[in-house]
Symmetry: C3
Subunit: 262 residues, 3 copies
């Protein structure tokens, strides 16, 4: 298994174009996070072009945060193209359990077998049909409560499922890892979870999904730890976090990653 | 009457979920402002789910900044649900006087009796049918010119009206207060007014509307004063402002609030 | 020819209202950039009001970044109003060559003779029908490769064309200038190009298009240079950049502008 730093190096060398269909809240910060990490984000969601773009993008991410009917059509079109191409795509099922509209949209996307599903515990539990108490975008359940749901969902998609929280849990249904990097300030900044989904998408290009996802999560959490060293609150944390994503070297990531087999 | 700090404590203890239908410019900063203050924002506006979400949200805010026909339907649906539940909701009538589309939308929302209307002087005057010269989102009239309009509008809605500017004016049609906290840099940062509307929404949960609104405005203005102590321009002001929203204690708010009966 | 500082002074004295139809990623940062520079941005794009607003706005900018069918209608309506009024408007043809939808929309807008077209080399080449290899919002071609395309496009529109990159190239089809201000970090921050389009729009109000565009580009690049003096990465660069836009004086701009006839 390659070091996390090697996965970061490979992502930066590829500097992959990644198409993102994400929510209005996240678009700007997600693009900045991906640029700071070293990827090339493209926010393309219109029905008129979403499939044409998906036909050549190396990776796609879909986030159901601010959902509306025309966007659902675009999401399904783009995911279908990636599925048919055998190209990697990531699903971020924001608040999947909150309303019927979200539950149905998330289920239709899961059926298109995302390479990775990344969500908080409440979202992964809702997606696996195992409850979950979250009403908004914030988790109301602990990561450990969602481990069985993650394994079940991975078996269903044939892909990777990542439950993020204080300690992340990542599984492909067979193997599993826990990643302990991160900082408690991260959930107090909007769209950092959504933006992580974009970073995972960038790591997937040309790399094995389970290892790449684990490395992306360790990298992201380590950037949070670096940011916390100087931050005075959520405003300065956000600034230092983008700087850290840009400045963390592969060597520092390999040294600082706290990954354990689960 | 409770101290402003007590209102802040109660808001943070509740950490209320607040549904926001807001404009594209404000979504990210509003979510970050509300998280920094201690609330849990949810940006939910799609016709397919807006009413379902409004049925359980403790508070709702509606902002007409970047208006379009489908969103107007969602706004009216959500406001109607809150009205029927007797639950608190806040209207932010951005640029209400600029176009016929805005005037009509704002009037239809006012008829659903918002718990609080928060706007600048030009917007409140336009809403009360008393003129107002603003063309964009920036005020072209002074707060004092809008006091009569605020009282008239409060009488019409049976709720609270807050006119924000260098010195804010808040009234329920009978009682009135002026809040002198704030900093001249605040209008030079986009969506800080929109984001304040979200903070007011969070303060309303389980608290009396007039007092909660006054406390929210003092808290917000004080955060601006704290930010100004270190800011070098609008970029560093925004960062320090989010930090201050997070770091201001109830004691500091009570000590620093500059509230006077009007 | 007036100094760049004089153009900045005139823009700030006018503090012009500028209507912007831009993409979701850029809206917030563009508004903050324009406010920091001294303009008054208004993000107005809905079919119901876009033409009414365009009838009185001193300047308009149109950006095709996150395109969809209803927005194309709004763009064409607003551009037609400006064309008929003889009022200035700027086109930002983001990723113009990436999909058929973008190529068609950009061509229809070019036919309405934008006062200024501002794009990267790949976008200007695509617009002039001369190739261009960019797939996303990032340039895949050098500025020099696009000079002929810029001259050809300017001849077609009768306006100014600005190709931005490490060294910018601006032409009205007859005269041409190169502007060497800027910093390599700028393309690593999303929507800084889009936001520059808004600043160009603000400079156009009451000023000659070629000179005003050159001054706006020098001012923007100089703010990047100032930001680079203290930035530790893209997060702190963004903060320092907004501060610099606010703090740069006309005198400093005139002294620091690196403009040469081409």
């Amino acid at each position: 298994m390659q070091t996390p730093g090697t996965h970061l190096s490979q992502m930066r060398a590829a500097a992959p174009l990644v198409q993102n269909i994400t929510n209005y809240v996240a678009m700007n910060v997600m693009a900045n996070v991906m640029l700071a990490a070293g990827a090339s984000p493209a926010m393309v969601h219109a029905a008129e072009e979403v499939g044409e773009f998906a036909a050549f993008t190396p990776a796609l991410t879909i986030n159901i945060g601010t959902l509306s009917a025309p966007w659902v059509g675009s999401m399904l079109t783009a995911a279908q193209v990636m599925h048919d191409r055998g190209a990697p795509w990531v699903l971020d099922p924001v608040a999947a359990g909150a309303t019927a509209f979200r539950r149905e949209t998330a289920a239709a996307l899961v059926a298109l077998r995302p390479t990775v599903v990344r969500g908080n515990a409440s979202e992964i539990m809702a997606l696996a049909g195992l409850g979950g108490r979250g009403k908004g975008a914030d988790a109301a359940d602990g990561v450990e409560a969602a481990e069985a749901a993650a394994r079940s969902l991975a078996a269903q998609t044939g892909g990777v499922v990542a439950v993020t929280g204080p300690v992340d849990f990542v599984t492909d249904g067979t193997r599993a890892f826990r990643i302990a990097n991160g900082d408690p300030m991260m959930p107090r900044i909007t769209a950092l979870g959504c933006s992580l989904t974009g970073v995972v998408g960038a790591f997937l290009v040309g790399q094995p999904a389970l290892e790449a996802t684990v490395a992306a999560l360790a990298y992201y959490g380590l950037a949070g730890e670096v940011a916390a060293e100087t931050a005075q609150g959520p405003g300065s944390f956000s600034v230092a976090f983008l700087d850290a994503l840009h400045n963390i070297t592969p060597e520092r990531l390999t040294a600082g990653a706290r990954i354990a087999a689960a």
